[in-house]
């Protein structure tokens, strides 16, 4: 059951991911990205990380992607014309991608050779209590540093986007 669900949602995630790149219309790409987020949330759920799954939907699908779509709709971006790619790019694109993916998986296999395999349902520490405890004990410094980083990014965006008022 778990394996079947994993395969189905992994396939959906990959299909949506490809669709993000292939689609010509920005809105359709953005919606494909929501599909990726949703499928990932289900994968988290399968692994037993309930809190992460819910937060994935609330934050990414529910807030960030709404902003993306809002901006795309506001700018009324149209269909992108198919780009005129040169012939070596067209010829070598797919083989290069295959080689990259192969290399990556090879390196991951080598580096994490002794690691445990992922088993569905074996992980039970994905509740809000455990994650909260970890965030405020073991990972307190990275957590706070990240929040400061995001704050700085927001301030930077405000400064960059501000109109000059004289």
């Amino acid at each position: 059951m778990d394996a079947v669900l994993f395969l189905v949602f992994a396939a959906i995630a990959v299909a949506c991911g490809i669709s993000v790149v292939v689609q010509r219309h920005p809105i359709t790409s953005a919606i494909s990205l929501i599909g990726v987020m949703g499928a990932l949330a289900v994968l988290y759920l399968l692994l037993g990380a309930e809190f992460l799954a819910a937060v994935q939907v609330v934050v990414y699908a529910g807030a960030i992607m709404v902003l993306f779509i809002f901006v795309i709709m506001l700018l009324n971006a149209g269909v992108e014309p198919p780009g005129g790619r040169s012939w070596p790019v067209r010829l070598l694109g797919l083989p290069m991608l295959v080689i990259l993916v192969g290399l990556l998986s090879f390196v991951i296999r080598r580096v994490f050779a002794g690691g445990e395999e992922v088993r569905f349902g074996a992980f039970t520490k994905g509740g809000p209590r455990e994650i909260g405890r970890l965030l405020f004990t073991d990972y307190l410094l990275p957590f706070e540093v990240t929040s400061v980083l995001i704050l700085v990014a927001i301030l930077g965006a405000v400064v960059l986007a501000r109109k000059e008022i004289d």
């Binding site: 309930e50 819910a54 609330v58 529910g62 709404v66 779509i69 506001l74 509740g127 809000p128």
Partner: protein, 397 residues
């Protein structure tokens, strides 16, 4: 009993109650608004217009489902589907009553008890903005697009106070499961006041409750926050290009969202299925008394009703209410009937408040809406959250 059979049975009960209340909420709304405005409201179809919802459904079903030629077909059709399914799905985590035993089967009066129940509700409500946004964009019409944009902006803005005001009661209850939140509200304060979240020490959530309620109005696109469909500037906003059943889906979604929001408010702030005063003071008998009083009222009014027809029919209504009161008098039925009664009574009162506000307040201007969200609601919800956190930390249970 088999888990699947049990779940199917419970789902069947919940969905039928939900659908009937969806239909009749619309009738109640029209009647209440009419009486606020000194009109009669629907009166022709059935006694006191009681069959009006069915007439409306029939009308919407038989209308031509016209699809304009300039729309983006996939998203145009996806939007109403998304709207109605996302609006109906949140009800699965709402607890209607405690654990009960019926014919030797122990079960909870709830479809599923997720231990991230509140987050599930927030996730679903944050996704429902897509329905309106897609509808506005796919319609390829400037009014629809404006409605969709407004709704996206409004729902993102009001999601923040909504989530922050929900955070404070979670701190007090110490759980994300809706069932455990209700169980944390058992007991009384000083023997009289119920220990509901809006009164509960050390941090009464009265402010959080009001912020949540106001944000819920905005999330469900109800007056005074119904700018996405402001008819005097945007024709009908995001659903301008929709007709027939596709329009009915949006209509249904609005009422389903209202039911979900009132159910969540009841569960988190108003003690869910718990009675307003303890059982030792006889709260189990209160529903019977209430129904009997309503029956007596119907019989009394039938003596002086202006219409002769009402003089004949109202005693029968009174009799039906007495029969319901008699059912509530059976002690064996108490654990099964009384908790859902209190839950529905509280949720029903909140729905009445929604309708009442619609009959009372005018619509906001768009800039006022945004100012209100960011400069008033958000700081208040934030201060409430911090104050609650401080009080919970100082006076742990």
């Amino acid at each position: 009993m088999n888990f699947f059979v049990l779940s199917l049975l419970k789902a069947a009960i919940v969905i039928s109650v939900l659908m009937v209340s969806l239909l009749y909420l619309q009738w109640v709304e029209r009647k209440v608004i009419a009486h606020i405005q000194l009109r009669m409201g629907p009166y022709r179809v059935g006694p006191h217009g009681l069959l009006q919802p069915f007439a409306d459904v029939l009308k919407l079903l038989t209308k031509e489902g016209f699809i304009p030629s300039h729309v983006n077909l996939f998203f145009y059709l996806l939007a109403p589907f998304l709207a109605v399914s996302l609006a109906l799905i949140s009800i699965v985590v709402v607890p209607f009553g405690p654990e009960v035993e019926l014919f030797g089967v122990r079960t909870t009066m709830q479809l599923t008890d997720l231990n991230i129940g509140i987050l599930f509700v927030l996730a679903i409500s944050s996704l429902s903005v897509y329905a309106v946004t897609f509808a506005g964009w796919a319609s390829n019409n400037k009014y629809s697009l404006l409605g969709g944009l407004r709704s996206a902006a409004q729902m993102i803005s009001y999601e923040l106070p909504l989530a922050l005001s929900l955070g404070a009661p979670l701190l007090v209850a110490g759980s994300l499961s809706l069932r455990e939140i209700v169980l944390a509200q058992q007991g009384t304060i000083l023997g009289i006041l119920p220990n509901w979240m809006i009164f509960q020490l050390p941090a009464p959530q009265l402010v959080g409750f009001l912020v949540f309620l106001i944000a819920a109005f905005a999330e469900t696109n109800r007056i005074p926050f119904d700018l996405p469909e402001a008819e005097n500037e945007l024709v009908a906003g995001f659903h301008t290009e929709y007709s027939s059943l596709k329009f009915a889906s949006f209509f249904m979604a609005e009422y389903a969202n209202m039911i979900t929001m009132t159910a969540i408010t009841t569960t988190v702030f108003l003690g869910g299925w718990l009675p307003p005063f303890p059982e030792t003071l006889g709260s189990n008998w209160a529903p019977a008394v209430i129904f009997a009083l309503l029956g007596a009222l119907a019989v009394y009014y039938s003596r002086q009703a202006p219409r002769p027809k009402d003089r004949r029919t109202l005693p029968w209504v009174g009799l039906a209410l007495f029969a319901v009161a008699a059912i509530f008098l059976i002690p064996a039925a108490h654990p099964l009937l009384v908790p859902p009664f209190w839950f529905l009574a509280k949720a029903g009162f909140l729905m009445f408040v929604f309708i009442w506000v619609r009959g009372t307040l005018p619509r906001f201007r768009y800039d006022q809406l945004m100012q209100f969200a960011w400069k008033f609601m958000f700081p208040v919800a934030l201060v409430n959250l911090f104050a609650t956190a401080l009080l919970v930390a100082l006076f742990p249970r």
